[in-house]
């Protein structure tokens, strides 16, 4: 048992224990003072301590043992009556105190926390701490769990924790009910643990995320810190002290929307690579270039305007506020009404962004605008995942769900750090190249989002390959790693995206490329392809088969066949 729980229990049980000791002492003492009676009715000396203690022991615990050292005198009987009542009171008091202690909320919290800390301490495998298990945190936790990565969650809301416990996770998720902004709670969650890989600050409160980021940075600088923010000033603040990744979903989505207008194939590729693996492929919608209307000039609205303007899209903003920058074409009013929409030129516009922070209003804007101009491309901001049903029913061309965007971004960062680098490189690609890769990826996966994974050719991640390359000076081409370990001539449904070697990047490396130890590779493909490839990376026999197309014989069989070959060679001149 945890030491602190033990001490707490002892402390609470002090008074009942002392009462019990005193009752026992008084009872025993009384019995040793009161004269008894012998078999003939003559007065006898009182009981000795031993007999008195023996009697009190079985009476006080209400065992009701019938054995008496001898018949009692009237005075002794009177005292024993008192003893019985005293001891019943003493024991009841103790038991009630103990029950109250067990039911005490503070005590239960101490017990739970103690168990949590112990389980975190004994975690042997790498894990991530997720602070704030709201919609975003839950999405990430689920996806990490499916990838076999352990998760420790810190969440303030008890109701959410109960929901988390009902979730169906493959590995037990460790949840602590605490405020992640408190550094000692983070420490309990394993911030200093040697297997801790990173901290994800996913609460919906920017200041809490900031607190988590700075605490992680100071206490354990080795960790990867990913934080979600909504406000640009907090984002700059976080970047200033070296948070590794700051995900601003407003900015991210606005950027993607702008890129999608400018280069749709590029956007499609990014969408495929950062999607939640295994889900159905998102429908393809290419937002048209032309005049756009943005309803709402909040944080998201501003991000959209900024990014679209950078791509040279002409814009009109509808917002009830009056303090907008002069550079923005502004129509005062609400987008939910037809009049401001007409004034903003909805009939000639190609697209509308409903960017308010109220889901009902956003849907209302979308419906009204679509009535005025049926060809409109509609982008809606969805604030709450709980409203998914409404948004499914409406079926907008583009729906922006903050929690999804953040979760996808974080997962891409965690599961394959190379991917972030690759996406950066892809920005410079021409549209045709992006379209070709998109086509290949869509072909693989049967309507599912492909999995993206990284492989480092070192002794830990690819022991068999590393051994062949290092010890045996063998040569392996990239194409060999794409071959099916069950059928030599068939290739796995996967595509090598990137090969990073000595600081140089080879984008879309071809099959003839020779591998070297220490190469870092990025693949995209199906989950089954990843499993099959892992087999070849780990297992020497499978690797031999993949390289040669023959099963390598065992030691004895190899010896026998060599001997037979030699014998045959001698026999034939």
């Amino acid at each position: 048992m945890n030491a602190s729980v033990f001490f707490l229990a002892l402390r609470r049980m002090r008074a009942p224990l002392i009462v019990l000791i005193v009752i026992y002492a008084v009872s025993t003492l009384g019995l040793t003072l009161i004269p008894g009676v012998d078999a003939d009715g003559r007065p006898a000396p009182p009981m000795s301590f031993f007999h008195a203690f023996y009697f009190v022991s079985y009476t006080a615990s209400t065992i009701g043992f019938g054995e008496l050292p001898g018949a009692f005198s009237e005075a002794q009987r009177m005292w024993v009556t008192v003893v019985i009542f005293l001891s019943v009171i003493g024991w009841s008091y103790s038991i009630i105190s103990l029950l109250a202690l067990v039911q005490d909320k503070g005590f239960q919290q101490v017990l739970l926390t103690g168990r949590f800390v112990r389980r975190v301490r004994h975690l042997g495998e790498p894990f991530y701490i997720i602070c704030g298990c709201g919609e975003t945190g839950l999405l990430i936790a689920r996806a990490l769990d499916r990838d076999g990565i352990r998760v420790v969650a810190v969440e303030r809301d008890e109701v959410r924790i109960q929901e988390l416990e009902l979730e169906d996770f493959a590995a037990d998720i460790l949840v602590l009910c605490a405020d992640a902004a408190q550094p000692h709670q983070l420490l309990m969650a394993g911030l200093r643990h040697r297997s801790c890989r990173g901290v994800l600050a996913m609460t919906d409160d920017d200041t809490a995320n900031l607190a988590v980021a700075i605490a992680s940075r100071l206490i354990n600088p080795r960790l990867m810190v990913v934080a979600r923010v909504a406000s640009p000033s907090v984002e700059r603040n976080m970047m200033s002290f070296g948070t590794h990744y700051v995900v601003n979903h407003f900015e991210k989505f606005a950027d993607h929307l702008a890129e999608a207008i400018h280069s749709p194939h590029w956007y499609r590729l990014v969408d495929l690579l950062t999607g939640l693996p295994g889900q159905e492929l998102p429908e393809r919608h290419d937002p048209p270039a032309g005049n756009w209307v943005v309803c709402g000039y909040g944080r998201f609205g501003q991000a959209v305007v900024r990014n679209l303007e950078r791509q040279g899209v002409s814009l009109t903003v509808i917002d009830p506020g009056s303090d907008l920058p002069i550079t923005v074409r502004h129509v005062p009013g609400l987008g939910t009404e037809a009049e401001p929409l007409r004034t903003a030129g909805i009939e000639t516009a190609v697209g509308i962004v409903a960017a308010g922070d109220n889901d009902s209003n956003n849907l209302s804007i979308a419906i009204t605008a679509k009535e005025l101009n049926p060809d409109l491309f509609v982008v809606v901001r969805q604030n709450r995942v709980a409203n998914q049903v409404l948004f499914d029913a409406y079926d907008a061309d583009f729906t922006m769900v903050p929690s999804r965007i953040v979760a996808r971004e974080c997962l891409a960062l965690i599961t394959s750090p190379l991917l972030a680098h690759f996406l950066h490189l892809v920005r410079a690609w021409p549209e045709v190249r992006a379209a070709r890769v998109t086509g290949v990826l869509e072909g693989f996966s049967g309507g599912r989002v492909p999995l993206v994974w990284g492989v480092c050719l070192n002794a830990a991640e690819a022991p068999a390959v590393h051994r062949v390359l290092m010890m045996e000076q063998g040569s392996i081409a990239l194409g060999d790693l794409c071959r099916d370990p069950a059928a030599h001539h068939e290739s796995l449904p996967l595509l090598p995206l990137l090969l990073a070697r000595d600081g140089r990047d080879h984008e879309l490396p071809d099959d003839e490329m020779m591998l070297q130890p220490g190469d870092r590779l990025l693949f995209a493909g199906t989950r089954a392809a990843k499993v099959a490839q892992n087999l070849a990376l780990d297992n020497r026999n499978v690797l031999d088969y993949v390289l040669t197309g023959h099963d390598a014989p065992g030691w004895l069989w190899g010896l026998l066949s060599r001997w037979r070959r030699q014998a045959g060679g001698l026999g034939q001149p």
Binding site: S4, F7, L8, L10, I18, V22, F49, F50
Partner: protein, 127 residues
């Protein structure tokens, strides 16, 4: 003045004094060592032990351990007495008295340590 401290100090010192009272006298003379005094010493020692529960400081831990030692020794003395008087029927012979009293002497030492700790704690805090 803190009532808790008064009670705490009272029981610790009382445990030591009762123990001393039982211990003092010729070691093999049953007349010098009254069994009621041993009983009182055991009860007060037990109460003192419970009072020391739940203190998580270093000095609190040592306090508790000295008390546990004293309890152990005194209970051992009581068991020796009970066996001699009731089980073997030997009664309080010089041998039995000697072993009971020497066991209580060990407990007395633990109690003295406890009192010293109490004094150190008081001097350290000096409030």
């Amino acid at each position: 003045m803190n009532l808790e401290k008064v009670v705490f100090g009272f029981f610790i010192v009382l445990a030591a004094t009762l123990n001393f009272g039982f211990f003092i006298g010729d070691i093999d003379q049953p007349r010098h060592h009254h069994i009621y005094e041993l009983f009182a010493a055991i009860v007060v020692n037990l109460i003192a032990t419970v009072l020391k529960f739940g203190d998580r400081t270093q000095i609190g831990a040592v306090h508790l351990s000295t008390s546990l030692v004293a309890d152990l020794q005194l209970v051992a003395a009581a068991v020796v007495w009970a066996i001699a008087v009731h089980v073997t029927g030997e009664g309080m012979s010089a041998d039995v008295t000697t072993s009971v009293v020497s066991l209580s002497g060990g407990a007395l030492f633990a109690n003295v340590v406890s009192v010293i700790l109490l004094i150190i704690e008081t001097v350290m805090l000096r409030r």
